[in-house]
C-alpha cells in the first residue's frame, strides 16, 4: 500500500466514523448550511485534529504539510459524505491561501491556525453596488490615521458576513492614480461597531448574501495584506482561487439542475421515455461529464506543475452556461407544475430562478468570455478600456 492509499484509507475510516453519509433523498438547497454554526465549528476542529484540515498548508501554520495528491484523495472520499464545513469554505479557499502567499509572518501565525481549527470565520469583501465585474472601480475608501486606517463604504454580495469574525477587504487608498494602482487589501475585524451587516434578499426569496456597511471602521497599520496600494495584486491571487472553486462543480449530486435531479423529475412525470426529453437528459449527462473531466484536466495539470492560467474562467463560464441550459430543460420537464408549485419541487424551482444569479456571481459570462478571449487565446484587449486614467477622473455608473 502506497502512502497515498494509506492516507486515503485513514480518511475514509475517519469520515465513516465522524461524518454523515451523503443522503440523496434529503433536501439540499445549495444555499449555505442548515447546520447550527456551533456544530460546524466543532466538526472543523475535529477534522483538524484528525489531520485533514489544511492538508497542503505548511505545518508551522497549523497545516498538514502534505501534497496535492493527498488533498485530491481526501476530497474524493469526502464526496460520499455530508461535511458541515460550509462556513469555512470561503476563508480556507480565498483569504487563507492569499495570506499564505502574501501575508506577513505575524499574520500567518495569528490568523491561519484559528481558521483551520474552526475558531474564526472569514468572509471576502470585494464587490460593491457600482463595482461588480469591474471590481477595481470600487469606491470604499481607507484613509490613513495616526495609528492605521479608517474605512468607509459599502460592500455587497458578501457570503457569511453575518457570522464572520474577520474579512479581507479591498479599499481605495489613493484616488489620484489609475484605478488598479490605488487599492489596498486589509484584514478587517467584523465585530467592530462601525460594521453593519444586512441580509440581501435575492430573486429566489432567500438571503444567501449580505450587504455590509463600513462607517469609520478603524484598522491597524499591520492589517495590510501585501503592500499598500498593491491590493490589486492580492485581489488577483484571491479571484483566481474563486473562479477555480466556482467552475469545478460538474456532476455534484447536490445540484438541483444536475442530471440525477432532472432524471428523477422526469421519471416522476413519466417523461424519461419521451424521446426528446430522453435525448436532452443524455446530453445533460454528457455536458456535465465533460465539465467534470475538464476540471480534472485542470487539476491534474496544476498538480503536474502546468500553469492553468485563465482557464479557470473557461470552467466557470462552462458551468454557468450549463446551469442556464439545464434550467431550460428543467422547465420543459416540470411543465405546468412550475406554475402550480409543490413542495417537492421547491429545490428545482429555486435553482431555475437562481440560475441567472449563478451565472453572474464571480463575474458575468461576458467578463469570463473576455478573460478567455484575451488571456487564453491572446486576442487583443477591448478598445477603449482605459487602464491609465486616474480613478478620480473615471466615468462611473450613475
Amino acid at each position: 500500500m502506497t502512502s497515498i492509499d494509506e492516507f486515503r484509507a485513514r480518511a475514509r475510516a475517519w469520515l465513516e466514523q465522524n461524518a454523515k453519509p451523503f443522503d440523496e433523498a434529503a433536501g439540499h438547497d445549495g444555499e449555505g448550511t442548515s447546520v447550527p454554526l456551533e456544530e460546524s465549528k466543532r466538526f472543523q476542529k475535529a477534522l483538524w485534529e484528525a489531520g485533514f484540515a489544511g492538508i497542503t498548508w505548511p505545518k508551522e501554520y497549523g497545516g498538514q504539510g502534505l501534497g496535492a495528491e493527498e488533498l485530491i484523495a481526501f476530497n474524493q472520499e469526502a464526496a460520499d459524505f455530508e461535511l458541515p464545513t460550509g462556513p469555512f469554505v470561503i476563508g480556507l479557499g480565498m483569504p487563507g491561501p492569499t495570506i499564505l502567499e502574501l501575508g506577513t509572518e505575524e499574520q500567518k501565525r495569528r490568523h491561519l491556525p484559528p481558521m483551520l481549527r474552526g475558531e474564526e470565520i472569514w468572509c471576502q469583501l470585494f464587490s460593491e453596488p457600482s463595482a461588480g465585474s469591474d471590481v477595481a472601480s470600487l469606491q470604499t475608501t481607507a484613509t490613513r490615521t495616526e495609528t492605521g486606517w479608517v474605512v468607509n463604504g459599502q460592500k455587497v454580495w458578501t457570503s457569511g458576513a453575518q457570522y464572520s469574525d474577520f474579512g479581507a477587504i479591498l479599499a481605495r487608498t489613493d484616488p489620484t492614480v489609475p484605478k488598479h494602482k490605488g487599492i489596498t487589501m486589509f484584514i478587517v475585524d467584523m465585530h467592530h461597531p462601525g460594521v453593519t451587516v444586512r441580509p440581501l434578499v435575492v430573486a429566489t426569496g432567500h438571503a444567501p448574501f449580505n450587504e455590509v456597511f463600513f462607517d469609520n471602521v478603524e484598522v491597524p497599520a499591520d492589517a495590510v495584506i501585501g503592500e499598500v496600494d498593491k491590493g490589486w495584486d492580492a485581489a488577483v491571487v484571491m479571484l483566481r482561487n474563486e473562479r477555480v472553486a466556482i467552475g469545478a462543480g460538474g456532476r455534484a449530486r447536490t445540484n438541483a439542475l444536475g442530471y440525477d435531479s432532472l432524471l428523477e423529475a422526469a421519471r416522476t412525470r413519466g417523461l424519461e421515455s419521451d424521446p426528446a426529453i430522453r435525448r436532452r437528459l443524455a446530453l445533460l449527462y454528457a455536458r456535465e461529464s465533460a465539465l467534470t473531466a475538464y476540471g480534472r484536466v485542470l487539476h491534474e495539470e496544476t498538480t503536474a506543475g502546468i500553469q492553468i492560467g485563465a482557464r479557470g474562467s473557461a470552467a466557470k463560464l462552462a458551468g454557468a452556461e450549463l446551469a442556464l441550459w439545464a434550467a431550460d430543460l428543467a422547465q420543459d420537464i416540470l411543465g405546468s407544475d412550475l406554475a402550480l408549485g409543490s413542495a417537492d419541487l421547491d429545490r428545482v424551482v429555486a435553482a431555475v430562478v437562481g440560475a441567472p444569479g449563478g451565472a453572474v456571481a464571480g463575474g458575468t459570462n461576458e467578463i469570463q468570455r473576455n478573460i478567455v478571449g484575451e488571456r487564453v487565446l491572446g486576442l487583443p484587449k477591448d478598445p477603449g478600456v482605459d487602464r491609465n486614467t486616474p480613478f478620480n477622473q473615471l466615468k462611473l455608473s450613475r
Binding site: 464587490s127 453596488p129 457600482s130 461588480g132 465585474s133 469591474d134 472601480s137 455587497v156 454580495w157 440581501l200 434578499v201 435575492v202 430573486a203 426569496g205 442556464l324 422547465q331 420543459d332 411543465g335 405546468s336 412550475l338 406554475a339 402550480l340 408549485g341 424551482v349 431555475v352 430562478v353 441567472p356 444569479g357 451565472a359 453572474v360 456571481a361 458575468t364 459570462n365 461576458e366 468570455r369 473576455n370 477591448d382 477603449g384 478600456v385 482605459d386 486614467t389 473615471l394 466615468k395 462611473l396 455608473s397 450613475r398
Partner: protein
C-alpha cells in the same frame, strides 16, 4: 386591415399605459402580490369599468363594445408591460367561451355582467397529471342531478380560481364532453390557491364534489378550440408587452451602468444581446399582429397564426427576461429589482394554457403536417 396600429389603438394603448403608471406601477404590484387577493379590486374596477376592458370584445348586443381583437391586444400589451395582476385574462376567456358556445339564454344573463366587470368569470379545463391544457377526455364528470347537473373532479391552473364567481368547467357528461356553468357560492366546491413561481398570476386548484352546475348549450369542442386561440392571442399580447418592457429596462440600464470606464451598452457583448432581444420582440410582435389580423378578418387562418405568435412570444419572452436578469448583473438578481418578477412571469407564462410543445403541436395540427 393593416398590421400597423390604428390611431384608436394607439390612443387606447396610451390610456391604459397611463392608467398603469398612475394606479398600478410596479411598487404597487409588489404590495398586491404580497397580500391575500391575487389582484387589487380597485385597479380591476378601473380596468373593467373606467377603461372598459372587460367588455371590449364582447358583442354590443350583450353590452360590450364589440371592438376588434387587435384593440384588445393593444390594451393587453400595456398590462403585460406592467405585470398588472388582474382577472382580465380569465374574464376574456370566460366571455369568449360563452360567445363561442352561443347559448342565448346564458349569454343574455351573464355576458352583460361580465362586460361591466361586475362579475369575474373563469375557465376551468386543465386537470392534474395531464399535460394537455384542454384535455381531450376530461376526468371531471357531470351527472344529472335534480333539474341540472352535479360536477365531480379537480381542475388545476384555474386563473383567478379563488375569486371567480362564474366558473365554466369542461366535464364529461351524459352526452359527451360539455362546458358546465358553476355559480358561486356553491356547495361542494373547494379552492386552493397555487403557490406557483409567478406571484403576479393568481391561479388555483378547484375541486368539485357533487357541485351543482348548469350545462351551457353549444358545441363544446369547437368553442374550446376557439378559446385556445383566444388564450394564445391574449397571452401573446401580454408577453409581447412584457418583452418590450424588459428590452426598454435593459437598454436604459445599459446606457447608464458603467464598467471599465464605458457604459456597458457600448460593449458588443451587451449591445449584441440587446439587438437580439430587439429582434425577438420585433418579430414575435409582428407575428402577433398577423394573428390578431387573422382573428378579425380571416378566421380560417387564426388557429395557426395564434399558435405561431404564442410559440414565439413565450419563447422570446423567456429568453428576454433571462437576459434582462443576466445583463443587469448582480443588481438584477436582487429581490429589490423588478427583473425577477418578469423572469418568473415568463417562466410561468411559458406553460400557461399549454406549454411550448403543446403550442407547436397545435400549430402543426393546424398546418396539417
Amino acid at each position: 386591415m393593416s398590421l400597423i396600429f390604428t390611431d384608436d389603438q394607439k390612443s387606447l394603448a396610451q390610456t391604459v399605459k397611463r392608467f398603469v403608471a398612475d394606479r398600478t406601477p410596479l411598487p404597487k404590484v409588489r404590495e398586491v402580490i404580497g397580500g391575500d387577493r391575487s389582484y387589487d379590486p380597485e385597479v380591476w374596477a378601473g380596468l373593467a369599468g373606467t377603461l372598459g376592458l372587460a367588455g371590449l370584445t364582447i358583442p354590443e348586443e350583450y353590452g360590450g363594445a364589440g371592438a376588434t381583437h387587435a384593440d384588445l391586444s393593444a390594451a393587453l400589451r400595456e398590462l403585460g408591460a406592467g405585470l398588472v395582476p388582474s382577472p382580465l385574462l380569465a374574464c376574456v376567456l370566460a366571455a369568449g367561451t360563452l360567445v363561442a358556445l352561443d347559448d342565448e339564454e346564458v349569454n343574455r344573463k351573464l355576458l352583460p355582467r361580465l362586460a361591466e366587470g361586475h362579475v369575474v368569470g373563469t375557465l376551468a379545463v386543465s386537470e392534474p397529471g395531464n399535460r394537455q391544457w384542454i384535455p381531450a377526455r376530461p376526468a371531471t364528470s357531470a351527472v344529472r342531478s335534480g333539474g341540472g347537473f352535479a360536477l365531480s373532479g379537480t381542475k388545476v391552473a384555474v386563473l383567478n380560481g379563488a375569486e371567480a364567481e362564474l366558473l365554466l368547467v369542461q366535464a364529461a357528461g351524459p352526452e359527451g364532453t360539455g362546458v358546465y356553468l358553476v355559480e358561486r357560492p356553491a356547495d361542494g366546491l373547494t379552492v386552493a390557491k397555487d403557490d406557483g413561481v409567478d406571484p403576479t398570476r393568481g391561479t388555483a386548484t378547484v375541486t368539485f364534489d357533487g357541485t351543482a352546475a348548469r350545462l351551457v348549450a353549444g358545441d363544446a369542442a369547437a368553442a374550446l378550440d376557439h378559446v385556445a386561440d383566444l388564450a394564445n392571442l391574449a397571452i401573446a399580447s401580454e408577453q409581447s408587452g412584457a418583452m418590450g418592457a424588459c428590452l426598454a429596462m435593459t437598454t436604459e440600464f445599459a446606457k447608464i451602468r458603467y464598467t471599465f470606464g464605458q457604459p456597458i451598452g457600448a460593449y458588443q457583448g451587451v449591445k449584441h444581446k440587446l439587438a437580439d432581444m430587439y429582434n425577438l420582440w420585433a418579430l414575435s410582435d409582428a407575428a402577433l399582429r398577423e394573428a390578431t389580423r387573422a382573428a378579425d378578418e380571416e378566421p380560417a387562418k387564426l388557429g395557426a397564426a395564434a399558435a405561431a405568435a404564442r410559440a414565439l412570444t413565450s419563447q422570446g419572452y423567456l429568453a428576454s427576461a433571462k437576459n434582462t436578469m443576466l445583463l443587469h448583473g448582480g443588481i438584477g438578481f436582487t429581490w429589490e429589482h423588478d427583473a425577477h418578477f418578469f423572469y418568473k412571469n415568463a417562466i410561468a407564462g411559458n406553460v400557461l394554457a399549454g406549454d411550448a410543445d403543446y403550442q407547436l403541436d397545435r400549430l402543426a395540427d393546424k398546418l396539417g403536417i
